[in-house]
Symmetry: D2
Subunit: 261 residues, 4 copies
């Protein structure tokens, strides 16, 4: 069957969907819920430190559980190794021992770019402490490789700055990370519309994580559906093996022999 | 329901799928059949003058009918107005009075680029003769507008040269055609992989026609599935209204208020 | 000598500079004069029908002559074949029998895109009437070829819409025109900054014509100097034959043998 | 005077040229010499550990001195902090106490990508030891900022992998580095042709360092001249302040008032 694909494996669990959704910036819990449903996401990330200010507030976590989602706590807003590690520990308590976490150690308040050195340190501590770390990082292939080698559950390079919607800036780096990183690779941040997500998957990424592209679309629910299809499209295109690009046109119908001679 | 969309209307008929597939360059009829099925296409185009040399030969048309497809005859390989018009007339007889046709008047043997002036003339003659003309053309917005104004059923600008797989070269022109052309607009030619098809739809095209990208993928059937999802993804993304692209990053989670803060 | 290059030949005259400058949108005649000087342009184009509203007004032509420039009258603002032809005839009288003209037959008031069919007709009439026609056109390679074959002195495809500053949208088409057009090829319209002009020349164009990029820079005189160098840079790069682009990095120093090793 | 520009200052010295050239991969010393001359470069970099295998060998340094160039020793081929530091010390002896050095700590033998963490360590040691460090690094803006803050003489992000000729992959990052880095910023690596160098300067870089693009052009001397002009072009364009890019065309001649109208 053509739609077959092996599942995405993270921390020993298997997922059919290769789209992970964030929960920030929605208007209200209902909008969040409809977007998550339409996206088909099985993993949904929550900014633990900003939970009170996220749409839904305390009601968000139960709502996501009801939708059958794995809740992936993230450390958005953490600017130090200590803060990030502490936030993960807090999340583990809050989420009944959940060891999966999305690590963000932010190095710049303006661009929200990850601090790669802090990320390496925090990842090491968290792994030692029993966490399954999905590490948000830059698209530096050597840093990504190091995160994979130290045992991160996933490595998540940005495609472009968080919330920019500019699409993948450096395809070379993303492809290189896919080739050299031992862990599953997810593009996280920078996706602005469906084709951006498809491109991430065509480069060979294992999954895509996005938030703003859905939450700030005019119709978030419909954009969530767009992203669901885009990730499937890009994944199949990657597995199918695309045609070579050619500078000169080549007839798509055989050039010899015509009905009229 | 989020997956709702109005159908694509062509020549008074309605279609749920916005992906049209070509039948050139497949290995054999079975591969063609599986690709058409996986693509979900309801309209499939056939190079009438090259039918004997197309995979399946005489068996192709009955096979496509069995799949429930509208057969769209095309005039690939025609370099003059007369040849193109004659080929359409021939196709009408062959296909029991089918008036829908895909007009190609090619102006260059090397790049297979359309001859716009010949295309305008042939389209005029064919419309006068009762045909429903889907006109393959360049991405010149003024030519496209003229084709729409004269009553073409669809206008089909190329994204890049036929068989090149280079993706849409001039998004500005495609968008301009979408804005100013009275007829439905389909990108025809140039799509190389799934994201290219998604981009065409995100620009507001009504549908996408492609062939080589599927036929020359390592796994045509899977690529056909990729294209099906890509077209749906791009269509939803267009209808949903994408987020604005921003140069400076903006946090995707609210910046104020933290659990520990 | 490395800076050697054969001159640009147009209508039997030879030019060292491959940058042509427009005279619209400057603040005053002094700014025009300084920009022309800094650009090193030897051919400067003037919108004949808009002369009263151009900076300098009646004083513009004498000022340009004083700078030693060939004045190239253009038919900007002409929307019909008749208007364009008449404007060229008027210019010939105004400019003491000058037969060189830049033909624009505009087809769209909003984008100022050329009407290719009108351009072909007007070019034919003007050539028959003894003009040396430099024809502004789209980047359609077949139309460009036809203009060259009919005897145009130069063919001038747009890189992007006039005044857009978006740079060359379709490099494939510009390169194809360079390969197949019998006349010198100039990119005309769309250049926004220096690298855009360099790219046009790297694609093999014989020259570049621009206006807004200089006139609407914060410092037009300095941008004119930038464009002068950019055109020289792109020309030399084209003649020098660039290195191939490679996906994998290759050391730029020999990899074997080290001082310590 | 329009061609005026403040000089580039590095380690207390002033340079008129903003193009730095490498000496690897030339055919012979004569080719090197002619390329350096044509480029107008005042700073030329030499791979100290590969000197015996570089065109010219022992004769290279005296030849460069004769051309009046500052010789910038680099640590190409160094994969550890120790090797890089030792190579700089060796170069200082070899070059009569020259403290300027180009630091490369390479992290990947295949792509020659810099190891950012090793680079930070080596830079710190070298600065403490009295060197003026020009640090080759990735385009990570936070790493670049740190290198600038610690006192590097220049920060040199790659535009694309060394020897790839692919041009600047991530303009956003280069621009961000220009905005936030305390030291002069040079794009080093990735330039393939003249427009790539112009783009680097248009983004606001202080200078460009390149090697393969000249050495592997068909005609290195002419490409060196192309690069000289490209860097000047891009610098002036940056200083001039480019026009805004616009989606809709705007007439470059005033739209009101026509001679015949």
């Amino acid at each position: 069957m053509i739609d077959s694909d092996k599942p995405l494996k993270l921390a020993g669990r298997e997922y059919q969907s290769r789209l992970l959704l964030g929960t920030g910036r929605y208007k209200d819990l209902d909008e969040t819920r409809r977007a998550v449903s339409a996206s088909g996401s099985e993993i949904v990330t929550v900014a633990i430190r900003r939970l009170p200010d996220t749409a839904g507030g305390d009601a968000l976590l139960p709502a996501l559980r009801e939708l059958g989602c794995t809740i992936l706590p993230n450390t958005a807003g953490c600017y130090t190794v200590e803060d990030a590690v502490y936030t993960c520990q807090l999340a583990r308590e809050l989420l009944d021992g959940e060891t999966l976490c999305k690590l963000e150690v932010i190095g710049c308040k303006e661009t929200l770019q990850p601090d790669t050195i802090g990320t390496l340190k925090a990842a090491e501590q968290l792994i030692r402490d029993g966490f399954h770390v999905m590490a948000y990082t830059t698209d530096d292939p050597l840093i990504a490789k190091e995160l994979g080698d130290m045992g991160c559950t996933a490595v998540m390079p940005l495609g472009a700055p968080i919330g920019s919607g500019l699409g993948i800036q450096n395809r070379l780096n993303i492809r290189r990370i896919v080739e050299t990183c031992a862990a599953p690779v997810l593009v996280d941040a920078g996706v602005g519309t469906a084709s951006d997500a498809a491109i991430a998957m065509e480069l060979g990424c294992d999954a895509v994580l996005l938030n703003t592209a859905v939450a700030e679309a005019n119709d978030p629910e419909r954009m969530a559906a767009a992203m669901k299809h885009a990730v499937i499209a890009g994944r199949h295109a990657y597995l199918a093996g695309r045609m070579p690009a050619r500078i000169r046109g080549v007839a798509s119908s055989p050039l010899t022999g015509t009905l009229n001679g």
